[in-house]
Amino acid sequence: MTAAARVEDLLRECAPQVLGALIRRYGRFDACEDAVQEALLAATVQWPSEGVPGNPRGWLVTVASRRLVDLTRSDEARRRREETVAAMPVPGEQPPDEDDTLTLLFLCCHPELSPASQIALTLRAVGGLTTAEIARAFLVPEATMAQRISRAKQRIKAAGARFRMPPPPEVADRLRVVLHVLYLIFNEGYTASSGPDLQRNDLTSEAIRLVRAVHAQLPGEGEVAGLLALMLLTDARRPARTGAGGALIPLAEQDRGRWDTASIAEGVALVSDSLARSALGPYQVQAAIAAVHAEAPSMAATDWAQILVLYRILERIAPNPMVTLNRAVAVAMVDGPRAGLAVLDTVGLARHHRLDATRAHLLAMAGDTEKAREYYERAARGTASIPERRYLEGRLRNL
């Protein structure tokens, strides 16, 4: 690892602690967040050449506090507040030991914000990424992302949200939102194909890092462990899921020897442990399904009966058309393609390329090449994803 990469890891780790320390002292999430970003930038420039200070968090808190004073000073309308801030001692010594990651996540994933804003704010305030990095990851101009973040902060302020843990009766609902945001960040990185978008894989690592931090604070929450396991087990397939030029390789054709065995072992252990100890939730069930795939030597030798049971459970606790679609595939593997097609007819989804693709796949399995062709064509036209379209066109050619 290079000096710059080591510094970056350290900064990402420090970011929520430093921000938490500042907000606790000065309030004003939006201004503190800007100040911390500037301190992180200063460190990115200085530390690799001048060396990492003995107390990195203390250094960042000091620099961010000074920056906050500067920011406040430059704002005429806030003169009164400037005096208050300036009168406060600049903390340089020891930041508090508490880990503020979770509190910050609850704030950034405030239910008043749209998912896109929750994601952007989480990556910046908790993940310590710069606006430019987030914009690059989501393939939008920096100005668009900057505006999204600034509006998210205004909304949080307008909603009167405070930097503290939500009251106990709200924790479960709010945690569900946090986990969903982290899940979306992971997916955004995972679905990126290789090649020019390789950098977006950073999002998967970032999502895994943040879920790990939540898991460390809430080890008894089964769904947190379940989500971490699901991410590890899915990410384990990354080296095998794309081929030359970023072409997608379906599960059935992946070289399982290239799966990351360490991630699989950790994911399987996590999900087994949480299934034994906690109340069942959708992430745990999805992780359990991923674990069955991860432990199978091939598509044919997969325990499809077990996967079918798990999809039935998932459909009961978290029904949604995509789950039914996946259950149809499992039914096809256990009871044959016609049985799977019958399940597809029950999917409450008007028109979706994934439904068309699955129908095409099951029709091809059933030997109905003519109809399979029709649905592969529909699916290929229906997706806006270039690698998915190429994959579906490939299937069509090979019918």
Partner: protein
């Protein structure tokens, strides 16, 4: 998800508008741009020049041939576009309805998905 909001226009419709109505369309674009910039959804927007200024380039047998005029011989032509990054297609359509052009007889805004390079293994 990114969508291109494509503004198709018919010059005859534009000419039939009063000066006040034309001004309202221009102002409406200003308000619309402000709305989607503020929400962090605007990526870019351009209004295009008159199609009579267009040239069409075709390379045949390795030789470029340039002809005057628009590619398609129709009454409607592409007047401009907004490129937006939004939550879903419903939101893209809701935004399209805010564009003043959508309210003019004979004009319409086409909402078209932009292809992306991410994909799910199937």
């Amino acid at each position: 998800m990114k969508y291109l909001l494509i503004m198709h226009m018919n010059p005859a419709s534009w000419e039939s508008l009063t000066e006040a109505e034309r001004q309202a369309v221009m102002d409406g674009h200003g308000t619309f741009i402000e709305t989607i910039r503020e929400s962090g959804e605007l990526i870019s927007t351009e209004a295009l020049g008159d199609p009579s200024e267009s040239a069409v380039v075709r390379v045949r047998g390795g030789v470029p041939v340039v002809t005057d005029g628009p590619y398609l011989e129709t009454k409607e032509y592409l007047g401009g576009y907004y490129l937006v990054d939004v939550e879903n297609k419903d939101r893209a359509c809701a935004l399209a309805a805010l564009i003043p052009d959508a309210s003019i007889d004979g004009w319409g805004v086409e909402v078209r998905p932009v292809m992306f390079s991410a994909g799910m293994e199937m």
